[in-house]
Structures are given as C-alpha cells and as structure tokens.
Symmetry: C2
Subunit: 252 residues, 2 copies
Amino acid sequence: MAVRLYVEKRLTKGAAFELGPEQTHYLVHVMRLAARDRVRLFNGRDGEWDAVIEKQSKKRILIAPKKCCRPQDTIANLWFLFAPIKRNCIDNLVEKATELGVAHLKPVVTERTETKRINMKRLKAHVIEAAEQTKRLCIPKIDEAKPLEKVLNDWPSARRLLLCDETGGGPPILEAIVRAGPGEWAILTGPEGGFTRGELDALRQLPFVISASLGPRVLRADTAAIAALTCWQAVLGDWKKRPNFRFKETTS
Amino acid sequence: MAVRLYVEKRLTKGAAFELGPEQTHYLVHVMRLAARDRVRLFNGRDGEWDAVIEKQSKKRILIAPKKCCRPQDTIANLWFLFAPIKRNCIDNLVEKATELGVAHLKPVVTERTETKRINMKRLKAHVIEAAEQTKRLCIPKIDEAKPLEKVLNDWPSARRLLLCDETGGGPPILEAIVRAGPGEWAILTGPEGGFTRGELDALRQLPFVISASLGPRVLRADTAAIAALTCWQAVLGDWKKRPNFRFKETTS
C-alpha cells in the first residue's frame, strides 16, 4: 500500500516541492524510499494525489504530484469534546476520533480532569498520522484545552451536544440520536472519574444538550467516546457511504 | 467507590474464606485495606455481595460476604472472534470487549495474523480486571487461539457471524444487524493487515455469515471491533437497560 502524507502545499500537476525534515526522514530512513518511488499526498483542499519522488538525498526530497486519484470530499462538521485523560490514552483517543471522522477536536477541562497540561505538538502529530492511515482527505482541527464552562458559555445554540451520561440518565444512545435527527452535532465524554453530579445537573439544563445512556456497564472514557462516535456516524454520519478506494488495494 | 473482586468461591451470607495471594497482595499493598474494610465480590453465579475483611495480615485475608447487593443477571451469549494483534493492542481489545458485554472471546488465526502466540494467563488476568471495573457480574470465557478455518468448520449453524468487511462489501452495519434481527450472534474482526481476498470470498459464501461495512474510512483492528460490538449492543443487546447501581455512587 502506498505511503500517504499530509502536506500543506498546494497540490497541482507537476508542481514539485520539497518536503520538510520530518517527512524526509520518514520517507528516507523509515520507509527507505528513493527517487522514482511513488507516494500519495493530500492537503485537505485538493484531493488525493499520486506523486513521485523526483530527487532524493539524505536530507532533501523533491516530490511532484502527478495525478489526482481521489477528488476532495467533505466530512460532517462533527465536534468532539473530551476531557483530557492520561498520556497514552489521550493519544489513543484522538487517533480513534480521527478514524471515526471527527472534524474538530475540543479538549475540555472538567472538575475531575486530572490531566491539565496537553502536549499540543504531540497531539497534532498523532492526529495527522491517524488521518494518513485512515485515508481521510483532511485532518481534524484541534483546539487548546479550555474549561468546559467556558466552552458551554460560548456555545452556538443551533448545535446539539450529545452528553454521554454514565449515570444512565438519558434514553439509549441510538434512540437519542434518531429522535433528535440530522443537524450540527457535538459529542461530549468525561474524564476517567466521570462528571460530577453538579456538572451533570448543569449540563442537562442546557437547551442544546441531549443526554444519552451507553448501556448497563461502566465504560472507560475512551470506550465511551468510540462507542458514541460510532453510533453517531452509523445513524447520521457517513457510514452509509462505501469506501471509494479499497477494492483494488485489498486484492491479495 | 468500593473495590470489586472476582472470586471463584461460593458467595453466601457469613461464609468467610481466604483470598488467594494475588488478591491479598492487591488489597493489602495496593489498596491498603485492613480488617473491617469493605469490598464487593462476585463470582458469576451468586450476584454481587457486600463483604467485609475479617482478618488481615501481610499474607492472609479472611473475607466474609455480608449481603447480596445486586442479584445475578444474565448477559447475551455474544461471541467475539478476533485475530490476535500485537501485545498492548490485544490487551486493550479484550478489555474493551469485556466492557462491551461479550460472553465468549475466541482468538482466531487468519492468514495475515502475525501474532500467533498469546499469553493466555496475562489475557485472562486482563479480562478479570476489566470485568471488575466495568461492573459486570460475570467474566467472559476465553478460548485458546485456533485457526479461523477450524472454527468455521465447527460452526453452530444457527449462530450468525457478523463479518466486519473492510472492503465495504456489505450493507452499512446498523442495516445489516437490524435486517437479520435477534438470535445468537458472533462478531468477527481481522488482524492489522485485514483479511485476504481469499478469506473474504470464502467467508461471504458461508450461509451464517453476514457482511457489514463500517463506513468510508479505514479503521484499525481495535477500532473496528469496538465499533461493531457497540452497534450490536445498541441494536440487539442490552443497551436499552439502565444501569442498576450508579445513581448512588456518582453523587459527588
């Protein structure tokens, strides 16, 4: 399978450019690619391009887009609000959210959030890597962490906020999503220790909040997030679309 | 929140017993519990019991069940067939499958399965820990790994097998599950590299196999598993049940 890289440069036929030092290192020293090898490029605007390495040295790669092989698509403008959790788990969480088609990642600090400092650079690198592997044509935006209260104060009133309520307060999640129907949505999951009773009470009183239950067992923060994003994509998102790239590549 | 422990002993009022060395170590040295402290016990048969530590030394704990606080329930007899993946990922996978209510874990070796040796002892310990934390009243069974072909040859014909088909060959997953309806089910996900074309062709011809698509992006093996188990529980499983233990404990 071809290596896929996210780049910021404009992609247009034959307009060669140099890759940055990290991607150069990856292609030369990890993937061991050289002149005339092919890679795939995307930038979130111009679709996916078949590209060829024109010149390669240890520290420089010049790469030229040759042919657009997938037109740019758009994904649902789904937001994902999550309380930061500990290091490996947060990496896993943003990776899964990227695979599950989130457009905008918004870390929120809740009362029981223990992880208050986030390494944004590392998180962005994870998000890009996940987008490359999951064959997205865009990368999710990611905000700096903000207090949940502040995010709720500035909330756009037309956007629904699905609250994964671990106390079982809301209707079952599929029912909650089907009942509210299409529109702009965000999904909110709590930290390891859950939301406090005060937070849950305040959230439930907001007109845009839709509580939902994720069944009778306790789910870890990351499981709850993947489960909620899955239900949303399966009911209102793009899971009815077929992949437009796979049949060729999976012939063995 | 009380410590929950899975034990094999019969649980009945006042019938005290000694814990094994690992659980003793955990209670004494990790949780720092002592005589008169309370824990919760379950064994998969007698419900959940409030229990009290009667005697404690560095190496011995005598514990007595006092009161049954949750009656034994039954969970759906859902099987989960998965190709073993690398160490940390497989730990994560069985943990999530336990949270998502799987009754029986069946590792299957497929053509592209690279991880052929599984440390069953470690995996069982993970499954028990996950069951304790997710508040299950039973632990999932877990088989030794077998070749996929052998498992399919011995298949009980009335049980449906949901194939997470990364080529997008099947209908969207919710549609596939809703259309087939209630009954005995199993869910199958592949290894990191996916199934081979030959495996997919063979699987699709089996009368009990139901192919399903998980949307237009490539999902990692563990994401696909969590997503498929979520959809099954949300449509046919117990996600319409409310938790029967949480309101008290989440008051802050």
